[in-house]
């Protein structure tokens, strides 16, 4: 498999994971430091289904995502019901992430393999699948963000008390966003398992969760394509910086700081990549319509 192809697949996997987090962080304003755990759950579920039960790839992915979404209720229901602050929620997810990693490392069932992980997962993942899934995730998330659900989420983020007063069920909306984000992380995890064909629980550690969070924020809140672009950049950046040799990660951190310093709103806050083009098209269309109108008149 080619080098660029490999990075493109990694970037697509990260984009799928990000799509869920965009709603959780960018829209409803909760941030998570443990979403790698949902990737882990999705990855194991999907890999076990394809490896031992010969499920079709896409169905295994969807079931993996669904199991991840259900498991998010374990942490979501107790923490989101009260008025826990966003920071406390972050700590709770951090704990959940650690818990999943520790449990997965210590399951002795042969399907899971404990700390030794799973190998020999069928290599179903290729560039076509990766790009298609990333594309579908972005479109779905754009639609979700524009729908009633996305608007409610924004309302809760900006004015939680006011939105409660006008009768929004805050708990339900928050849980919905959390499950949505866990679902996509689960799918992303499944994709990862079928790309590397080998995985260990240690891969899904707190750093991965932080990278996911960083991508969302770097891309800009209240945007879907911004974080998707941010993720692509953050996936490619360490590879682009390879010429720096051992200073690579130091410079990577510095670039992150500089981006935040130059664009403290993120790359595309409250905007989408395609907006200028859509506006341009609308503009041209309105001009042509007007000119034909005037021609008629």
């Amino acid at each position: 498999m080619g080098y660029l192809e490999g990075i493109a697949i990694s970037a697509s996997i990260n984009i799928v994971c990000i799509c869920g987090l965009v709603i959780l962080t960018g829209y409803i304003g909760l941030f998570s430091m443990g979403h790698a755990s949902f990737m882990c759950i999705g990855a194991y579920a999907a890999a076990i289904l394809t490896k031992y039960y010969s499920f079709p790839f896409i169905i295994a992915l969807l079931i993996g995502g669904a199991i991840a979404a259900l498991s998010s209720l374990i942490i979501g229901v107790p923490t989101l019901r009260g008025k826990m602050s966003a920071d406390c929620f972050a700590i709770a997810t951090l704990g959940f992430g650690e818990a999943v990693r520790i449990i997965m490392s210590n399951i002795s069932h042969p399907y899971f393999g404990g700390a030794r992980g799973m190998s020999g997962i069928p290599a179903y993942m290729n560039l076509g699948w990766a790009l298609a899934l990333a594309f579908v995730s972005i479109v779905l998330t754009l639609n979700y963000a524009r729908s009633q659900h996305g608007k409610l989420a924004l309302a809760i983020r900006d004015h939680q008390d006011a939105s409660e007063l006008i009768g929004i069920n805050i708990f339900r909306e928050k849980i919905k966003c959390l499950m949505y984000s866990a679902f996509f992380c689960g799918i992303g995890g499944g994709m990862m398992a079928h790309y590397y064909t080998y995985m260990v629980p240690n891969v899904f550690n707190a750093t991965i969760s932080n990278n996911l969070l960083t991508s969302v924020v770097l891309g800009g809140v209240s945007s879907v394509t911004g974080p998707a672009m941010g993720t692509a950049i953050l996936t490619f950046l360490p590879e682009v910086l390879r010429f720096l040799s051992n200073w690579r990660l130091a410079i990577y951190g510095l670039v992150m700081v500089l981006i935040m310093r130059m664009r403290p709103e993120g790359l595309l806050a409250h905007k989408e990549i395609h907006q200028p083009i859509v506006q341009l098209v609308r503009f041209i269309r309105s001009r042509t319509v007007r000119s034909t109108d005037s021609g008629r008149g």
Binding site: S10, A115, S119, V139, I208, P238, E239, R242, I277
Partner: protein, 402 residues
């Protein structure tokens, strides 16, 4: 509307590929290789992050070595293009190792050496065996050279002893030479290598009829072990066996045993990770009586030259020369043997050369070629203890045959 979105995304993807492609060594190197072209050797090492000393020290050694080889005219009249890649990643996952491997293969690499950690080596081995590229990792667990179906990976050859070999040796030493002491185990549960080493050790000890009194665990990056040590001490072990991946943990445990006042009763039993002068600085007095086995006696004249050169060139780096670094250095010797024996960099010829090797003089010791699982035969184990704050060799030890 949707169409535009699609177009924009595709354009964006294409742009980012192009941007990255310019920076990478594009072009397929395999097709047009002539005799005048340099030999491309890629090294994957853990060169940043908390355990950077396990990647940086081999990287320094290998870089110096290949520089010397090039000054002496290279191999087969060709210069060596030695490329080092950091694969530690941002969180210890193996995506970095996979990306670096793909990049090297695309750049027409002849041989890939490293890394030393089993999780990453396995991921790299999967790719190299798919692509038919010679891969020489150092040390680590069996899964690197043998896949999950028990089949030997044809393109992966180990450069150091397999972990279980090490562990059988030290377990036998403990049982036979330390007079069957009571042993407790303290190990890390989240890393493959640690769990495998613990299993091999405990199984060997139980087969021998040794006394295994209890175990406790820790997590990656832990620094506080007093709770576990105090609990283990209740079981009155003579030795605590610790298959640690980094010397830091061994130092902490030694210091904390001493703080708790157990240092006289309970000694540490560990592996080659401890063979590092920096550990003596970290926990010298507390290590008194600690026993471990290693593949090379660092004090032997065999290493005088290497040691002197390392400290002359890299003493300022603040990292001591360690045995794991020397084992990684073996990789260069294996590459040299494969290329010179094959007489070319034809992958199949080099693979054959290694498979049929009989005598290779490595950095750490001479070996007698590979067995059917691509493990090197003929490693000697040297048992070392700490006396008066110094490493003292107790001589070579070989486990009695079953």
């Amino acid at each position: 509307m949707k169409k535009f979105l699609a177009i924009v995304l595709v354009v964006l993807m294409a742009c980012s590929f192009a941007a990255c492609g310019n920076n990478s060594d594009s072009g397929n190197g395999d097709s047009a290789k002539t005799d005048g072209d340099p030999i491309v050797i890629g090294f994957l090492g853990w060169s940043s992050g908390p355990d950077s000393l396990y990647g940086l020290v081999p990287q320094y050694l290998l870089t110096d070595y290949f520089k010397q080889v090039n000054m002496d005219g290279g191999w087969l009249g060709r210069q060596i293009d030695f490329r080092t890649y950091d694969v530690s990643g941002l969180g210890g996952d193996f995506s970095e190792a996979v990306n670096a491997t793909n990049k090297l293969i695309q750049a027409g690499v002849d041989i890939i050496i490293g890394p030393s950690n089993s999780t990453q080596s396995t991921a790299v081995a999967e790719i190299c065996n798919r692509e038919g590229i010679l891969h020489i990792p150092s040390g680590s667990s069996a899964i690197v050279t043998v896949d999950e179906n028990g089949k030997t990976r044809p393109w992966t050859f180990r450069a150091g002893p397999e972990n279980s070999d090490y562990l059988i040796n030290i377990a036998n030493y403990a049982y036979h030479e330390l007079n069957n002491p009571k042993i407790a185990v303290l190990y890390e549960t989240t890393q493959i290598d640690c769990v495998n080493m613990r299993d091999t050790f405990v199984n060997t000890l139980e087969d021998l009829g040794g006394t295994f009194v209890g175990e406790a665990t820790y997590q990656i990056d832990d620094q506080e072990f007093r709770a576990q040590l105090r609990s283990l001490a209740e079981k009155n072990p003579d030795y605590i066996f610790m298959p640690a991946m980094g010397y830091k943990e061994i130092g902490y445990v030694a210091n904390q045993l001493k703080e708790l006042g157990y240092a006289d009763k309970i000694k540490l039993l560990t592996i080659s990770t401890a063979d590092n002068k920096d550990l003596l600085a970290l926990a010298g007095p507390a290590l008194e009586g600690c026993v471990f086995n290693t593949t090379a006696d660092m004090s032997s004249p065999r290493f005088t030259e290497i040691t002197k050169q390392y400290y002359d060139n890299h003493g300022a780096s603040g990292m001591a020369l360690h045995v794991d670094g020397l084992v990684s250095f073996n990789e260069a010797k294996l590459v040299e043997y494969a290329i010179n024996t094959a007489g070319s960099t034809d992958p199949e010829a080099m693979r054959k050369a290694l498979e049929e090797a009989k005598e290779i003089d490595l950095i750490t010791c001479p070996v007698r070629g590979y067995d059917e699982q691509h493990n090197l035969l003929g490693f000697q184990y040297n048992v070392v203890t700490v006396k008066n704050g110094q490493f003292v060799s107790l001589g070579e030890y070989a486990a009695p045959a079953k």
